[in-house]
Each structure stands twice: as C-alpha cells, then as structure tokens.
C-alpha cells in the first residue's frame, strides 16, 4: 500500500525534476496562453478552465499548490478562465490522443458476474504481468496502425501513472481534426462494440487489407500464444475458484503460503491432490470447496473445439508450431488453422474478443477533454507519467519511478 503523498514531496518534484522543456516541446508554445489546464488540488478538488501566460507560470502554480493530478486540455481562441469557461469560447485545436486502460477489457453481465477477457483473475485497476500484456499488445498495434495506415510520423507514448498508457499523435494535421474525423479513425480501429456489456464482434474486413493483415500478424499470434488453451502444453499457475463465494485466486500463491516454500510448474492433478492434502480453504470465506477453474475452462474449450473437428492433438500441434514462427502473417495463419469455415469464424471472433485493442473512446473523441499531463505525478500511485515510446513492447509499470524515488 502506497503511503499518502506529502504535498511538499510533490512540490519538490515539480520544482527540481519536472522536465518543463520536454513538456512544452510536445505542445505548440505560440498558443500556450490560450490552452486550458486542469488540476486536482488540496483535498481532491478538481479545477479546470485555467490558463497561464507562460509555461513558467504554470509550473509555479503546480509547485505552489502541490497539484495531485495535472491535466492538459485544448487550445481556444481566447484564454480560458473562470469568467470565460471553455463552453463560452471558441475551440481552436487539440492534440489527437489515445487512451488504453486495462479495465477497458473488463465486462460484467446483468447479474454482476465478470464476463471480461482477463483470465488471470485481475479486474478493475488491479493488473499482473499476464493481463498487462493486453495493454502492451494494444500499444504496439495502434502504434503500427497510426504510422503505416495513417502515415503519422510522431507518435509518443506515455504511461498514465496508474492503469494504462496514452498515445499522443503530434503530426500537425491531427490537431485540427474535428470530432467526426477523430471518430472515423476510432471506428476504423474498433472491432469490439459495446465492450462493457455485450462485447459484440465485428467481422474482419476484406477491403482494409493492411489492417486485416496486421490483425493476423499481431493479434492472432498473440491470441494463439497467450490466450488459446494456455494450460494445454505446459503447466501454468492455474486459477482456483471457491464454490461458496465465487472468489478466484492463483493456486501457486496459495499453495506456497500454506506449504511454506515456493511452488511452481505443478500439474493440474498434483495441484488438486495438494489442495486436499493440505486442506486448503478459501482465504475470503474459509469455504473448503476450491475448484480448479483453469482446468474446467480448458476442458470446456476443448469440448467446444471438438465440435468444429479440432482435436486435442491438433490443438497441441498449433501451439507448438506458433512458437516456431517468427514472422507470423495472414498466409501462415491460413496454413496453421484447419480449413473449416465454422472453426475459422469462431477463431476470428475469439482472436478479436480476447486480444484486440480496446480504446477509451471518450478521450479520443472529445475535443474539449483534458488529459493527464505528460511527466506529471499521479496523485493516487505517486508514479510519474513517463515517456515509454522506446519500449512500449516491454514496458511494465513496476519499473516506473515514484515521486519519492527522486529524494
């Protein structure tokens, strides 16, 4: 649990370590005085419609008020202020921004049951290396699409400081995009509709060939490597589920704690016999009936695939083969997956459902929205919204500096 951030620590970070020049190099300095900023100050009071004459004035404000969260908004024809809020002044432009949050992959049915795609048991703001790979894959996919399909040159990625990443597209043409133009790019990138509820999947298009090929090269490969029958070839850390309170937990962690030494690489049978041997109970309700949820899921999926004629052996062959292919593409997908229309349809919907990027649409669409300021402190985690452009493929948040680390 992170200790509460001290205001003086935040102020000191902004005074001594905030890279003001790097921040202002991202935005057009000529219009700085007409740009909106927003901050969380004091006891979680959110203020916006603030503008500054010069970047130095902004930094002074942040130091003086020890701002917990800092946001940057659009540029207007006149400086936004309390008397002239953004609703009353003319919008001029805003950077084109994408926001990928890990909780965009969660969904719940009408009874409140989790029906999202994270199979590791994490949900909401909580994430592990397994599910964070969804964010990494999404960032790589969007980065390539922006550069190869849309021809954008300057795509800069930032960690959001908590549960996701932001892409700032800095090509000049993008900042004047109106809402329909931003929405069109979003729609081009969207295959999972109503993602928090029905998660309906659009078919992979034929005409948009580079996009289609990229889906097979990146998303399908990722699905086959990470989400397709993950425990069929090698033992994985399986999920246990309490039949009494439905809580889920990871088997290796709970066994290690009980036995008193690190457990890993155990087969399903061995795990189940250990549960009985050590009479392990649910840590949440102390119920005694823990089920191997991962095994159940595996068996159900194998049964479903069997209906399409894909046997366990054929599935194992796919899993072995995918590890050997470095440059996976559409043609290799066609060779690897048996030629069965129903199976292919099922596969393509699973690929998109489980591994396709999910974007927070409001951040991209809303031209008057404020977004987290690059290099600022996240008031809840104390982490810095650092530039991760050079390693989006491997970036994991635990490597991010916390504001306390500077002192």
């Amino acid at each position: 649990m992170m200790k509460k951030l001290k205001p003086e620590t935040i102020s000191k970070y902004y005074e001594d370590h905030f890279p003001l020049d790097r921040f202002t190099s991202l935005i057009d300095k000529t219009d700085f005085h007409n740009r909106e900023f927003g901050f969380v100050v004091g006891e979680d009071r959110f203020v916006r419609n603030i503008s500054f004459h010069k970047p130095k004035n902004m930094l002074d404000f942040m130091i003086k008020n020890s701002v917990k969260h800092a946001y940057v908004g659009a540029v207007y024809e006149t400086p936004p202020s309390k008397d002239f809020p953004i609703q009353k002044i003319k919008w001029k432009y805003r950077e084109f921004i994408f926001d990928i949050d890990i909780d965009e992959y969660d969904a719940y049915n009408e009874d409140g049951k989790y029906v999202g795609v994270r199979t590791c048991g994490c949900k909401g703001d909580v994430f592990c290396k397994d599910c964070w790979s969804l964010v990494q894959d999404a960032a790589v996919f969007i980065d390539k699409t922006m550069k190869e399909d849309f021809g954008f040159k300057e795509v800069i990625w930032f960690y959001s400081g908590r549960r996701g990443v932001h892409a700032w597209i800095l090509d000049e043409i993008t900042r004047n995009f109106d809402q329909p133009q931003r929405l069109a790019i979003l729609d081009y990138l969207t295959f999972v509709h109503d993602k928090k509820r029905t998660q309906s999947i659009e078919e992979i298009p034929n005409e948009a060939k580079p996009l289609r090929n990229r889906i097979y090269a990146l998303v399908a490969k990722s699905y086959l490597e990470k989400s397709f029958l993950p425990s069929l070839l090698n033992p994985v850390n399986p999920l246990l589920q309490c039949r009494n309170c439905n809580s889920k937990m990871k088997a290796y962690e709970i066994l290690s704690e009980t036995i008193g030494k690190e457990v890993k690489g155990m087969s399903f049978d061995k795990i189940e016999s250990s549960l009985k041997q050590y009479q392990i109970k649910c840590p949440y309700c102390h119920g005694e009936d823990l089920e191997n949820f991962s095994r159940k899921e595996l068996e159900e999926e194998l049964e479903r695939l069997n209906e399409f004629g894909l046997t366990e052996n054929k599935a194992k062959r796919i899993l072995r083969r995918i590890k050997e292919i470095d440059n996976f593409d559409h043609n290799q997908y066609n060779i690897l997956i048996p030629e069965n229309t129903k199976l292919r349809k099922y596969f393509s919907s699973q690929i998109l459902l489980y591994r396709y990027p999910r974007i927070d649409r409001k951040v991209t669409m809303d031209t008057r929205r404020v977004s987290r300021m690059p290099f600022s402190v996240h008031g809840k985690t104390g982490q810095i919204a650092i530039d991760i452009t050079k390693n989006i493929r491997d970036f994991y948040p635990d490597s991010t500096p916390q504001v306390q680390d500077f002192f």
Binding site: G151, Q181, L183, A184, D187, Y188, I201, A208, K209, P210
Partner: protein, 459 residues
C-alpha cells in the same frame, strides 16, 4: 489549376457569360426542365446537335443554374430542394461520365488537388505496385450490376480505384471500406459515390451563400427574379409530392398510413410504445410524425392521431391540444419553424440519433417478437431467420438485419441486402400486400425484388 474540369460540372468557373434580363426566365425554366426530365441530363454532345447548338446549351446550363441559385438563396426550403436536385444531377453525371480523367479532375476540385491521386501516380510515389502488393483487382464494371439502380446501364468506371487522403472521406474510413497506406485511402469509386455527392452538396451550399450576398447587395434583384422563384416553388412542391408518392409506389390520394402492415419495425414498435405508455421522446415523436406525413397522413389526421394516443392530451380539449402541442406537428409539415418540408430520417441516422428496432431493442426481445409474429410459419424457417438476424445484430449490421426480416415477412429479397430508409421498406411492403396484382411476386424466399438499396429518399 493544372487540370481541366468538364463542362457538365456545375461548380466549374464559367468565365464571363452575359444573359439579357429578358431571357432570364426562359433560361431558368430550361434548367428546371432538366431536373424533371432525365433525358436532358446529358453530359456529352449528342451527334444530332451541332457545335453551335451545344455551346448554346452549355450557356443555358450555366446561366440557368446561376439564376436558380439567386432565386432560392434566401428561402431555406427552396435552397434545400435545389441542393437535392443539383446533387442528384451531379451524381448522375459523375457516375455516367465515360472519361476516367474527368472523374479524377472533379474529385481534385472537390477535395483539393493534393488530396487526390491515381493509383498509377501512387505506384510511382511509393515505388511499388499497389495492385500486386495487396492482391487487388479492378473488376470491369458489369452493366448488370447497376442496371436495376437509378443509373441504369450508364454507369462507367465505378469499380476503378482512386487514392484520397483519408481525412477527406471519414465515413468510408469508419466503415473500413478503404485500403489505407501512409495516409492514402485507396477506394473504389462505387464506394465513395455518396460521400462525393455529399461533398458536392456541401460546396454547393457555400456557393449559395455567395448568391445570397449578391441578392442582399443589389436591391432590385429580388423583384426581378421573383417570377423564377415562383416557378421553382410550384415545381418543387409538385415534384416533392409526386416524388414521394411515386417512391412509395402508390397513387396520390391513397393513404399508406392506413395499412400498419406496411410499417417498418421501428415505426411499429414506436407506435406500440406510444399506445401503451402514452409518450415518446422528442426524437421518436419526430420520427413517427415525419413517417406518417410521408406515408400520406394529412395534418388534421395527425393531430387526431397524437391526441388519441398521447398523454399530452390529459385535461386538454382537442382545440387546446392543436394549438399548444400541435406546434411540433405543424413544424413537421413546414407550417411553423424554418418552413422546411421534412422527411423521416434515414436508417443510418435512426441508428445513431433516433430509434432503430434492431439497434436499440434487446436481442432476446426481438427473438421473442419474431416467434410471436410468425408463429404460423414453419419452425425451421423461423429458426434460420432468427439465427441470421442475431448474427447480423451482433455484427452491428442493423440495416441488413432489417432486410433479412423483410424477406421473412414478405418473401421478397432485398437487393444489396440492406434497408436504407423506412419509406423504402414501407413502399415494398405496401406493394407486396396492397399493390396491383401485376406487381405481385410469388411468395418465394429466393425471388429477387427490385433494388431497394439504391433508391434514396431525401431527408
């Protein structure tokens, strides 16, 4: 400008043309005739016309168009009518022009020269062959593909591809109907036809603004062009009424609104909700009201319809209701407000901003409705239809789901497999169940009905 625009392209700068004031009316009248008779929508000189006569025709075309613009520029209702008919004429000519370069040049004028390229130029710029790399093929235009559309067999080169900067054709990008490479959207002309027409209409409206400035600057001009304006009003009104009735496939005076069997699912559902709950949202009121109007309901009948079904009538006499709540109904008929003669929204607009049965009702309830409505049909046909419709809804293809439902209901297939407008649905359903015998098709699930998809109702 380094490219030449064709004479039929009405946004082309005509240079200096002088027309005597005495001839204004006849010029305008000839131009109006062009809208009414598609025989006159020619773009190339026919062999039986001499060069001199052809030049005269072109002057009449440009001059007449200029005068019509002047006449309508201060009247939003007439301006909207002229935009639609000019848009139709442009679309027809764009589609029928047999010169591919002409099409490219028109696109350059509409979108800016730097935003349009041929695929050959793109191949040179990027130093590879797009057709080869992406396995593209330009299938030659098959006349049969368009022969049942409103363009008939005059369609030329619509299957050829061009490259447009992606931000100029947002709806096509959103629909993933373009091959995108380094910011260039490679698209078939057939896929951008409507987007191009919308761009033409957008630019036409900004030119109308200039005509309005002329009228406001020169004081007696308004009086001089009044006869032209009166003529346009007369033609626009008759064309609108005749057009709507002919599109609905009924004679003027017949009332499609009296046959709820021909209502589309969205309107049937909204009427059901109105009758059971007594009110709809503002947008839904508008959707039902504009539909009933175009389905032949007169304003007095519409007052009665809402008075009987809506809870707005509580404690109100019919006269009070007409006076107070009737404002919205009069607005729909263009009697109040901006004076625009409104049509119901298209299916796309309904999906995004109004009510679409397929997009907004829960799938389980839709399935239940279908089972109840078609309980007399064979179980296997119903199951197959439910399966198809569910799949289409899940894939967000609501207009196709509507078309599949239409086939289940009428036994007629919808060419293009998509319903684009509620009035088209009604027209065909009306034709099926109440049309003349000669129009009837057999109740065969595989029969082909004429192309609903390519017909458009102006909204």
């Amino acid at each position: 400008m380094s490219f030449e625009l064709p004479d039929w392209y009405i946004l082309k700068d005509p240079g200096d043309i002088t027309i005597e004031v005495d001839s204004w009316y006849s010029f305008a009248e000839k131009r109006l005739e062009r809208f009414l008779s598609q025989d006159l929508w020619i773009i190339n000189r026919p062999t039986w016309i001499t060069e001199d006569e052809w030049f005269k025709t072109k002057v009449e075309e440009i001059g007449g168009h200029f005068l019509l613009r002047l006449a309508v520029s201060k009247d939003p209702r007439l301006a909207s009518w002229l935009k639609e008919v000019e848009g139709d004429l442009f679309e027809f000519r764009f589609v029928s022009s047999s010169d591919f370069d002409e099409k490219i040049n028109v696109l350059k004028d509409l979108y800016g020269e730097k935003n349009i390229k041929t695929i050959n130029t793109l191949n040179q710029d990027f130093n590879f062959d797009f057709y080869e790399r992406f396995h593209l093929a330009d299938t030659p235009t098959k006349p049969s593909r368009y022969e049942r559309s409103k363009f008939g067999t005059t369609v030329k080169d619509l299957d050829k591809r061009v490259a447009i900067r992606f931000h100029k054709i947002s709806p096509i990008i959103a629909a993933k109907k373009a091959l995108l490479y380094q910011g260039w959207a490679i698209v078939r002309l057939a896929d951008i036809r409507l987007v191009v027409k919308r761009e033409f209409e957008k630019q036409f409206i900004s030119i109308l603004e200039k005509s309005k400035e002329i009228i406001e600057r020169i004081t007696d001009l308004e009086e001089t062009i009044k006869p032209i304006k009166d003529k346009i009003t007369e033609i626009a009104r008759s064309a609108r009424v005749a057009g709507d009735f002919s599109r609905l496939g009924i004679e003027e005076g017949e009332a499609i609104f009296t046959k709820p069997e021909s209502y589309p699912p969205c309107i049937l559902e909204l009427v059901r909700v109105l009758q059971s709950e007594g009110h709809l949202s503002h947008a839904e009121n508008w959707q039902v009201g504009t539909f009933l109007k175009r389905a032949g309901m007169k304003i007095n009948d519409q007052y009665k319809f809402w008075y009987e079904n809506s809870v707005d009538n509580v404690g109100m006499t019919y006269e009070e209701f007409v006076q107070r709540i009737g404002y919205q109904i009069r607005h729909i008929y263009g009697i109040e407000g901006g004076g625009i003669d409104y049509s119901p929204p298209s299916c796309k607009t309904c999906i995004n901003a109004y009510y679409c049965y397929w997009a907004h009702k829960k799938l389980e309830d839709i399935v239940e409705d279908i089972k109840i409505r078609f309980k007399d049909k064979s179980e296997s046909i119903i199951d197959k239809a439910i399966d198809d419709i569910s799949r289409l809804i899940i894939n967000q293809r609501f207009q196709s789901a509507c078309a599949r439902f239409f086939t289940l209901y009428t036994g007629w297939n919808v060419r293009g497999r998509r319903i684009n407008h509620m009035l088209n649905y009604s027209r065909q359903a009306y034709k099926k169940f109440f049309g003349k015998k000669s129009d009837d098709k057999s109740d065969d699930e595989t029969s082909e009905e004429e192309n609903i998809n390519d017909e458009e109702i102006k909204a």
